[in-house]
């Protein structure tokens, strides 16, 4: 993966507009977070959900936010730092300073394994 270059990623995102896609959306604090009683372990995950969006926009000055205007709703994620285009799939993720994944947004024309 490499650091987000906002114009470049915006262009890639737009190639996915108005098409049937599979998406992966995930956010996590890690299951052990609650061991520290001050913290709430949080996380959400959807893999191979179906998605079609008419508009997409990356925002912020880094870490970045990405928002998708869906046919009948919205989806967004915050904290995105890195991306990778592989085999036509767009993988975006937010990593903390020690390289741990905290959020992921991925788009693909075919289901993820």
């Amino acid at each position: 993966m490499k650091p987000i270059h906002i114009e470049e990623v915006q262009k890639i995102l737009e190639t996915f507009e108005n098409q049937d896609l599979y998406f992966h959306l995930e956010t996590t604090s890690g299951a052990y977070a609650a061991q520290d009683k001050e913290k709430l372990a949080v996380g959400a995950y959807i893999r191979n959900g179906s998605l079609r969006f008419s508009n997409v926009k990356m925002a912020g000055s880094g870490p970045f936010r990405v928002g998708f205007k869906l046919n009948e709703g919205w989806m967004y994620a915050e904290g995105i730092t890195d991306y990778q285009l592989d085999d036509g799939r767009l993988l975006m993720a937010g990593h903390d300073s020690s390289g741990r994944l905290a959020v992921a947004v991925q788009l693909s024309y075919t289901p993820f394994d």
Binding site: M1, H24, E26, T28, G30, A31, Y32, Q35, G43, Y45, D82, Q84, D86, R89, L91, A93, H95, S97, S98, G99, R100, L101, A102, A104, Q106, F112, D113
Partner: protein, 222 residues
């Protein structure tokens, strides 16, 4: 420690490394067949490295290789990857878990099973995996049941469950155990760095913890 066949059931690659790699190695060295059934590939792990060595999509392959390497280090030649997905075990159909573990038990006829202690696993996958193992063994007629060594890992374990029933000193296989921990590089790198640069005092809490493996024998009250 004479056993006929040992079956270790954990949900993630590296779950075996800290709590039971030493005992697994000891069994292997004694000629006891050891099977490690790992329910998932830990594909939801968060550590992607700095610089990155994996993405969410490549992590399963990284973990698969590390798991195989770890087994090779311990001399465990029967590794079963059960194909469940990380962080989903508690949401799976419990009967699917029970039948998967049940088939393994039928095939291997283990005299000893090692798993987490249900409810004392901290991670939901640990609890769900252990609960499935206990449920599977419960359904075996009393006289045919294997012994089950469980690993509770919550800090209150001794306060609630009492002292462990079995404590193994694994100092004699410590080098192998540390190599097993190292094999799970994507999860243990930071700790291994501390082991290697000598900053870990041999008498430190973590080294004392690594040198001893403690188990609670599960009581099937009926």
């Amino acid at each position: 420690m004479m056993e006929k066949q040992v079956l270790v059931v954990f949900p993630h690659p590296d779950d075996e490394a800290f709590g039971t790699a030493g005992v697994m190695t000891k069994f292997v060295n004694e000629g006891v067949p050891v099977t490690y059934a790992c329910a998932t590939l830990g594909e939801m792990g968060r550590n992607m490295g700095n610089p990155f060595f994996a993405t969410r999509e490549t992590l399963p392959e990284v973990r698969r290789k590390e798991l195989k390497d770890a087994c090779q280090v311990m001399g465990v030649d029967d590794l079963r990857m059960l194909g469940f997905r990380d962080k989903t075990l508690e949401f799976e159909d419990p009967e699917l878990l029970v039948s998967t573990i049940g088939k393994l038990i039928d095939e291997l006829q283990p005299s000893l099973i090692i798993t987490f202690y249900p409810g004392y696993g901290i991670h939901p996958d640990h609890d769900a995996c252990a609960a499935a193992v206990i449920e599977t063994v419960k359904r075996i007629p009393k006289e045919k049941r294997p012994t089950v060594y469980t690993l509770p890992i919550t800090p209150d374990r001794e306060a609630v469950l009492g002292k462990p029933d079995k404590v193994f000193d694994v100092t004699d296989v410590l080098e192998t155990k540390i190599k097993t921990i190292e094999a799970h590089r994507s999860q243990t790198e930071a700790m291994v760095a501390r082991l290697e640069d000598g900053s870990l005092d041999p008498n430190s809490e973590i080294m004392t913890f690594i040198k001893q493996e403690s188990f609670w024998i599960y009581r099937f009250d009926e």
